[in-house]
């Protein structure tokens, strides 16, 4: 029985990987956007003095780009379960003699893996832009953060997917929820310039801990909290979001 559940997880993971590798245009698109951001923002703001920022703008901005690309791609993986619903494939999976929990685990692992692959390539590009290689500890923390960001975002995608009917609401969620959260996550500018009240408000923004933690691990400057603290908080957020996501998914009727 246990073997069957492992097979289910493996199948769901393998399916994601195959689809990822076959969709060449989609892979390309996920690199182009961060590259644009990095090249245009990074070089455009390079010589601007921003108060509260100690490093070069491109140094400050790079971790935000990594966090953003991992997050977007894994959230999309979570939400795209709606496509399976729409195209009927989900029924085929749900009628198999495996638990819904295994299906979610496999799906999450698949989405996280593809997101981390993309994130790693962005990371390589960033090093190409001249960002220095972090310490071994910093590097390991960077990878761990990418994993954690991926899982949290897939979980969030699952939560949204179980509440949405089709993919049409996806851009609305992106524009009304994710973009504002991203803007006040310190990905683009330091939060120290915000009014005190606004700064405290950002502390309930999960995206803040993703960006701040990744910045602390990768660059080691301009982060507000030590990476390990960010990591702890994000871990709790991740577990909560993942449990809500899998609960809602297991309860949803096809």
């Amino acid at each position: 029985m246990r073997g069957l559940e492992l097979q289910a997880i493996y199948v769901m993971w393998l399916r994601q990987m195959k689809r990822f590798l076959r969709f060449k245009s989609r892979i390309l698109a996920t690199f182009i956007q961060p590259l644009f951001f990095l090249a245009i923002f990074g070089s455009g703001f390079r010589n601007i003095e921003i108060p509260g920022m100690e490093s070069d703008y491109i140094f400050f901005f790079a971790p935000g780009i990594v966090a953003m690309s991992v997050m977007f791609s894994s959230m999309f993986a979570g939400i795209s379960i709606l496509w399976d619903k729409q195209f009927g494939f989900l029924q085929e999976v749900l009628v198999a003699p495996v638990s819904r929990f295994s299906i979610i685990i496999g799906r999450t692992l698949g989405g996280a893996t593809t997101a981390i692959i993309q994130g790693s390539i962005i990371l390589l590009i960033i090093f190409g832009f001249g960002i220095p290689f972090p310490t071994p500890f910093g590097f390991i923390m960077t990878l761990l953060f990418m994993v954690l960001i991926a899982f949290t975002a897939v979980g969030f995608g699952l939560v949204i997917a179980s509440k949405m009917r089709d993919m049409q609401s996806y851009p609305i969620i992106m524009n009304l929820v994710i973009m504002p959260l991203l803007l006040v996550s310190s990905a683009f500018f330091p939060l120290s310039n915000l009014p005190k009240e606004a700064f405290y408000a950002t502390l309930i923004n999960p995206l803040f801990y993703m960006v701040d933690g990744l910045r602390g691990s990768l660059i080691g400057v301009d982060n507000i909290y030590p990476p390990l603290l960010d990591f702890g908080i994000l871990l709790i957020i991740c577990l909560v979001v993942m449990s809500i996501g899998s609960y809602l998914f297991s309860k949803s009727e096809v």
Binding site: Q7, R15, F87, F89, Q91, A96
Partner: protein, 361 residues
């Protein structure tokens, strides 16, 4: 007694697990000892709307059983309950001797499903779709390989197995789904409207595949359809379902015979009067009054038309039209529901608006 000499086709082997050992009983097929599907007052309500209303029926091993009814009759809802995707509001059901609520996983292992809407991953090849399915049902590597070839041969898709499903035609997708439903040697295969939206040539081919697997693999088949010809061609027994209720269950032959060898359909100036008069005639097997016409079941219909005219004339009733024909399932459906299945097709849009839950058919 040597079991080896027994003809596998004409006997079923029933295994009874006792505390001490296993006892095998051989009994002639057709003895109908095994009910593969059994429901007891199965009911499903959606927000006060009763989609499936207290239905009880059984499907026997090896047969092709069909639910015939218009869209929205509760066919798909019934299937979804039997395949454990929906929980019944009340009542119970067993599939392959396992309760659909208490033994979900056992039920799932024993069933294959072909959904009404295609449920394939179109980004994968046909072979990959089958392989993923087989893995999730715990088939070993060797079995997987062999079985994939077997089922692909059965539906003649062997030469297309490495192509992406998105390049398949509608009929090929259906065939692949049927093959996938058979992958894990299910006891019973559920087919929800197996030929919906296919052209007549492809439909005929799918029917032949369904018959073939029923014979070759000895798979019990439960299918739903709103096509008369499909039910007539495929099914051993049919349940006519309308508005969530089963109106009648019987073999296709019996259903047709039950309303007479020939069916006379007529309209006239005074239906009520003619019905009362006709019921007195011994040669009238069945007579049923509809809104604007009568159906009369008789033997040797062509000889009865003059008789009916005589009767009508003596009563001063004017017959406006009359026809005689062999009973079709359409007549059977008409007889039991008082409506033609096509009348209801037209009435569907209104019903769809009233119904609250999507994708119920």
């Amino acid at each position: 007694m040597t079991i080896a000499t027994l003809d596998k086709k004409s006997f079923v082997v029933i295994k009874l697990d006792t505390f001490i050992n296993k006892i095998y009983i051989l009994c002639p097929k057709g003895a109908n000892i095994l009910d593969i599907i059994k429901t007891e007052k199965l009911t499903k309500k959606f927000d006060g709307f009763t989609a499936v209303d207290n239905i009880s029926f059984s499907v026997k091993k090896g047969e092709i059983f069909g639910f015939l009814g218009p869209n929205g009759a509760g066919k798909t809802t019934t299937i979804k309950m039997l395949i454990t995707l929906l929980n019944p509001t009340s009542g119970s059901a067993q599939v392959a001797d396992y309760d659909i609520l208490k033994n979900r996983d056992k039920v799932r292992k024993n069933i294959g499903v072909v959904f009404q809407d295609p449920a394939l991953d179109t980004e994968l090849t046909g072979r990959e779709n089958l392989d993923f399915h087989a893995r999730m049902y715990g088939l070993s590597r060797e079995t997987r390989k062999e079985r994939i070839d077997d089922v692909l041969n059965l539906v003649d898709l062997d030469n297309k197995k490495n192509e992406y499903v998105k390049n398949y035609s509608g009929g090929m997708k259906r065939r692949l789904e049927i093959a996938r439903g058979l992958m894990h040697f299910p006891t019973v295969l559920f087919l929800d409207e197996p030929t919906l939206g296919l052209d007549s040539q492809t439909r005929r081919a799918i029917w032949d595949y369904i018959r073939k697997m029923n014979k070759d693999e000895d798979t019990t088949i439960f299918l739903t359809t709103h096509y008369m010809d499909e039910a007539d061609y495929l099914c051993d027994r049919i349940g006519i379902i309308d508005q969530g209720k089963i109106l009648v269950i019987d073999s296709t032959e019996n259903l047709k015979n039950s309303i007479g060898n020939d069916v006379i359909t007529l309209s006239c100036s005074d239906l009520d009067k003619l019905v009362i008069r006709l019921k007195k005639e011994s040669w009238v097997k069945k007579v049923k009054q509809h809104d604007s016409f009568l159906t009369i079941g008789v033997e040797r219909g062509e000889e009865k038309i003059p008789k009916i005219f005589e009767i009508a004339q003596s009563q001063n009733i004017k017959i406006t039209s009359i026809s005689v024909g062999k009973p079709t399932l359409d007549d059977v459906f008409l007889y039991f529901t008082g409506r033609s299945i096509r009348d209801q097709e037209v009435a569907i849009p209104q019903k769809e608006v009233l119904s609250l839950s999507p994708r119920r058919a």
